[in-house]
Amino acid sequence: MTADIAAILAVDGIATGAIYVLIALGFVLIFAVTRVIFVPFGDIAAFTALTVAALELKQVPGTVGLVAALAVLATLVEVVSLLRARSPGRIPKALVFYLVLPLAAAGAVWLTAGHALPMALRIVLSLVLILPVAPLLDRIVYRPIADASVLLLLTVSMALHFALVGLGLLFFGPEGVRTETLTDATFEFGSVFVPGQTVMIVGAALLFSALLYLFFEFTLTGKALHATAINRTGARLMGIRPERAGTIAYLLGSLLAGVSGILIAPVNTIFYDSGFLIGLKAFVGAIIGGLVSFPVTALGSVLVGLLESFASFQSSAYKEVIVFSILIPVLLWRSYTTVHSEEDTEE
C-alpha cells in the first residue's frame, strides 16, 4: 500500500465514519433519555434515502403510507390511555400531536410528490416526513413498557427493526436506489482528490455534533433532557415530563439519522433493508463510547469507518467480519474499565 492509497482510504474511511457518527449520536441520545437502544435508527436512515429517491422519480414515497398508518395507530393508543386515565381534557392536544402534525407532513409530501421539485426542497420534505416515525413508534411500542428492563427494551427494539424491514418491503418495494449527487465539486488536498460529497458528509457530521453540543450546553430544554437521563424522579418533580423529553430525543435522533441517509444515498445503493448494517456499525461506535459519551462515540464511529475502509482494501469479502470482530475486544475493554452503577444510585 502506497501513501497515496492510504490517504485515499483514509479520506474514504472518515466519510463513512462520519455517516456512522450521525447515527451513533442518535443511539446515545435516545439511550440516555429513555434507556431504549433504538436499533431501527439504521432503518430510519435507509427510509429517508428511499424517500428522497422516490421524490426524484416524482413518485409518492412509501413513507407517506407508513407515517399515516403509524399516526392513526399512535392516536388510538394515546386516546385509549387518556380515557383510561380519565383525563379526556388532554385529548385535543394529543390529537394535534399524534394525528394532525404527522398527517400534515404526509399530506404535504403526497400533494407535491408528482411535481419536479428542487433538490433542497426534496431533502427538506423527506426529513419532515421521516421525523414523526420514531416518536410515533415510541408512543405505540415503547411507552407502554417504559419501566421494563434494558434487556427487554432491547429485545423489543430488535423485533421492531424486523417489523420495520417488513414494512419497508411493503411500502418501498425491493428495488435499490441511488440518489443524485449533492455536488459535483472536487477538492484537492495536497495530492489527494476529495469529492465534494465527502466534504459535505464530514461537514454535516461536524455541524450536527456541534449543534448537539450547543443544545445540551446552552438550552434549558437540552438540560432538561440531560436531567431526565440522570434522574427521572428528580426531573418529574421539576415538572419535566420524561415522555416529552423522550419525544424530543427521538425527533433529534431521527433528524441525525435522516441526514445520514440523505448523505449516504448518492454514494451507496440503498435497499429497504440496508438500514441494519449501517445501524449496526454505528452501534459499534456507540458501544465504544459506552452508550454515554458523545465525544468518544464520535471518535469510535470514525474508527469503525476507517477500519472498514482499510479492511475492504485488504479483502473486501471480509470487511464486515473485520469490523464486527473489533466489537469483542472493545466489549471486553469496556466491561473491565467501566464501573457498573446501579440504575438508581443512592445518595
Partner: protein
C-alpha cells in the same frame, strides 16, 4: 379553608399498607409537621400526595381535587416536594440544578433570574459552589441545593421530607430556621421530621404518625408539652 387537605389517604405496597386512612391539612401561610418513628409511613404519605405513588383517597389543593393529575401538573400548580432521597442531578452543576428547578416557569426568564439571585442570597454557599457538580457537594450543601432547587419553582405549598437527614443538630436548626421566613413570602409548608423537638418548635400544627396511622394531632406548642410525646419522642425533659 386549608391550602392542602389530604383526605382519607391510604398507600399500599402490594399487600402491605404503609398509610391507612390518614387525613392531614396545611393552612395557608403556615407550617404543619408530621413526626413519627422510622417506617411510620411519612415518606409514603408525601410521595403519594405529590403523585409519585398510587393512593386511594383525595388530595384537595387550593380548593381543587388534584388526585387525578400527574406529578408534573401538580408541580406546575405550585405544589412541590423535596423528596427524602433529594434526587439531585449529580453530574450537573449546582447552577444547572437550580435553573432546572424553575423548569415549570421556563418562559419567565426575568423572574427566574431574580429567583436565582434570591436563592444565592439565602444560601451563599451555593453561590460559591455554583460551578461544582451537585454530586460532589457535602451533605449539608446538598440539602441546601435540594431546598433551593424546590424554591426556584416558586412553590405555594412545599413538602419537605426530612430536611435535616444526616446533618449535625446545629445545621438542622439552621435549615429549619429558614422555614418561617419562607412562610412570610407566602409559602405554606408540610414538614416531615425525625427530630421531633426541632420540628414542633418550627411548626404551627403537628401530627404524630405511627405505623400508618395518625395517633395524635394538635397545635405544635400543645404537642410539645404533651406528656406522652415527651417520653417517646422528645427525649424526656424540655
Amino acid at each position: 379553608m386549608a391550602l392542602l387537605a389530604i383526605e382519607d389517604f391510604s398507600v399500599s405496597y402490594g399487600k402491605a399498607e404503609a398509610v391507612r386512612s390518614v387525613s392531614v391539612e396545611v393552612e395557608k401561610g403556615r407550617i404543619a409537621t408530621v413526626i413519627g418513628p422510622n417506617g411510620a409511613g411519612k415518606t409514603s404519605l408525601l410521595n403519594a400526595a405529590i403523585g409519585l405513588l398510587p393512593a386511594s383517597g383525595r388530595v384537595i389543593y387550593d380548593g381543587e381535587d388534584i388526585s387525578r393529575l400527574d406529578v408534573e401538573q401538580r408541580v406546575e400548580m405550585g405544589f412541590c416536594l423535596v423528596p427524602e432521597r433529594r434526587e439531585l442531578f449529580g453530574e450537573m452543576s449546582v447552577e444547572d440544578n437550580l435553573r432546572l428547578g424553575a423548569y415549570s416557569h421556563r418562559r419567565a426568564h426575568a423572574q427566574n433570574k431574580r429567583s436565582l439571585d434570591e436563592i444565592y442570597d439565602r444560601f451563599p454557599r451555593l453561590m460559591e459552589r455554583r460551578r461544582q457538580a451537585a454530586g460532589t457537594l457535602s451533605g449539608g450543601e446538598r440539602q441546601m441545593l435540594a431546598l433551593g432547587r424546590a424554591l426556584m419553582a416558586r412553590p405555594k405549598l412545599l413538602m419537605l421530607d426530612e430536611p435535616s437527614l444526616g446533618l449535625a443538630p446545629l445545621i438542622t436548626r439552621e435549615i429549619l430556621a429558614t422555614l418561617p421566613s419562607l412562610c412570610e413570602n407566602g409559602v405554606s409548608i408540610l414538614l416531615v421530621e425525625q427530630n421531633a423537638r426541632a420540628a414542633l418548635e418550627t411548626a404551627d400544627f403537628g401530627y404524630v404518625m405511627e405505623t400508618g396511622d395518625i395517633v395524635r394531632s394538635g397545635p405544635a406548642d400543645a404537642l410539645i408539652h404533651d406528656p406522652m410525646l415527651i417520653t417517646t419522642y422528645l427525649g424526656g425533659h424540655g
